[in-house]
């Protein structure tokens, strides 16, 4: 399954963000989107995730145009945006349990607890998310990478608010995902020294 | 016109000059019809034995009510078109129609109460038709409030389209529920629905006035949609080049 973007253009309000953007993402490959703030990196990722519709151009996943089979596409996609994506009042355990059910791949409690401890959140599973620090919240969100098995990852600046150790963990995770045949579309201010990828600068 | 070039006019850039040419044509029609309509309603139509001269208000009240309902349905039509064909023009058309529709709804209410005062002695009668006209006016206000509160043009079009479609589905429900409400509470003794026996000339006068209002609406809406097109497309090339012939 590959992600192919043809002649994409996007408008935000009155402003034309970018146009004639085309690229092809194959399994075992990742794409790093760079550009200064406001260049439309996030808009491009949201377009590829099917969250918004482009001014012109098309995006297809496995040859199928995204709007035609949105639910099928979303089965194979994990999109993590800027926002925390967690409910402040619920605990990490509840958040992840709910998200796994909604993703259609319900995870057992033990699986979630082991992922949370992998991310160094042991002992904080039952605290409401609002008491956690930004870094801890980001790691709870990143736990979803391990809980949902799907080929395409679209991550919007996943390294934000992470400490050195977590950044390395995330690097290994991304490398592992790509080497196992996954696809990765990512924006980040971190330099991405990873094998076999393309850089798209807006 | 065959389907293909009809589509050509669906793009704002090519619709703009077409609208420009139509406006004088419809304004002329409106002027003629208005003159004839007014002449009928004041000179041709005989004095009504029951309501004396007061009934002449129907020559304005009824066309205004018809127009307010008709415009809402046209808005819903353009909204549905917008969803099916995804043309940008439909959102602009819907928003161009709304203010005129709201004006006619307001005029219908005012003339309705001006008619009610001499006939039934009160400025406002909780009659089924007037009440549903009032609710239609609220629907218009809701649409205008929603579309003016959203800045992003694309979202404004889509939200407006959804609201007008939800509204048009609710209009018959509201209309019948108000009639049932009216019969339950007071039995339709005082009712505007029983229009005075229609002498031929009166009906003719009302129809011509309705057509005049219809012409007026088209001219105004085309002019407003041209404004909206300019405001929306100001950054595009064709506006810079030769838009304003």
């Amino acid at each position: 399954m590959n992600l192919s973007v043809k002649d994409l253009s996007c408008q935000r309000g009155e402003r034309l963000l970018f146009e004639h953007v085309s690229f092809q993402l194959e399994p075992h490959q990742w794409c790093h989107v760079t550009g200064e703030n406001g260049a439309g990196k996030t808009s491009l990722l949201r377009l590829c995730a099917g969250l918004s519709s482009p001014l012109s151009g098309s995006i297809s996943w496995g040859g199928v145009n995204i709007p035609d089979d949105l639910d099928g596409f979303h089965k194979d996609l994990l999109y993590l945006g800027h926002a925390s994506g967690l409910k402040e009042e619920l605990t990490p355990l509840e958040n992840l349990t709910l998200m796994s059910q909604i993703d259609g791949q319900p995870a057992t409690e033990d699986a979630i607890l082991s992922v949370l401890s992998f991310w160094g959140l042991a002992g904080r599973e039952d605290l409401p998310v609002r008491v956690l620090s930004a870094g801890q919240r980001r790691r709870v969100l990143l736990s979803r990478l391990l809980l949902k098995s799907c080929p395409l990852w679209i991550l919007d600046e996943p390294f934000n608010a992470l400490d050195k150790k977590a950044i390395n963990t995330l690097y290994d995770l991304l490398n592992n995902h790509v080497s196992q045949g996954g696809l990765l579309l990512v924006t980040s201010h971190q330099p991405m020294e990873m094998a076999e990828g393309i850089v798209l600068s807006l | 016109m065959s389907m293909v070039n009809w589509f050509k006019y669906a793009s704002p850039a090519s619709f703009y000059p077409l609208a420009g040419k139509l406006i004088p044509f419809f304004s002329a029609i409106t002027a003629i019809l208005l003159a004839v309509g007014l002449w009928i309603s004041f000179f041709m139509a005989p004095t009504d034995f029951q309501q004396g001269e007061g009934y002449r208000i129907i020559f304005v009240h009824v066309p205004a009510s018809w127009m307010s309902m008709f415009i809402y349905c046209v808005m819903a039509f353009w909204s549905a078109l917008g969803f099916i064909l995804n043309t940008r023009l439909s959102g602009m058309m819907t928003q161009a129609l709304a203010p005129t529709g709201a004006m006619f709804a307001f005029l219908s209410l005012v003339t309705g109460s001006l008619w009610g005062k001499p006939m039934w002695g009160t400025w406002w009668v909780w009659d089924a038709r007037l009440t549903s006209q009032l609710i239609l006016f609220f629907l218009y206000l809701g649409f205008l409030a929603l579309t003016s509160a959203i800045d992003d043009p694309r979202r404004r079009d889509k939200a407006g389209a959804i609201l007008s479609l939800v509204g048009v589905v609710n209009i018959p429900i509201i209309y019948f529920s108000v009639i049932w409400w009216n019969t339950l509470h007071q039995g339709a003794t005082v009712s505007m629905t029983k229009a005075p026996t229609m002498a031929h000339t009166m009906l003719m006068g009302m129809l011509i006035m309705a057509l005049a209002f219809w012409g007026y609406t088209i001219a105004i809406v085309l002019k407003r949609v041209r404004c909206i097109i300019l405001e929306r497309e100001i950054a595009s090339e064709w506006v810079k080049k030769n838009a304003l012939e």
């Binding site: - | 005029l107 404004c227 100001i234």
Partner: protein, 44 residues
């Protein structure tokens, strides 16, 4: 007008007023956007 003058002329009057004010307001809006297009470099 058989004593109903106020109401008949009132109704026709308010309709006339509304149908005159609306084009005027619309024209003002049109001029405003035209000036904006002109300032922005569009030819007349």
């Amino acid at each position: 007008m058989g004593g109903y003058g106020l109401y008949v002329w009132g109704s026709f009057g308010i309709c006339a007023v509304a149908m005159i004010i609306e084009p005027i307001v619309l024209n003002a809006r049109n001029q405003k956007i035209r000036r904006q297009v002109k300032r922005q470099g569009g030819q007349w």
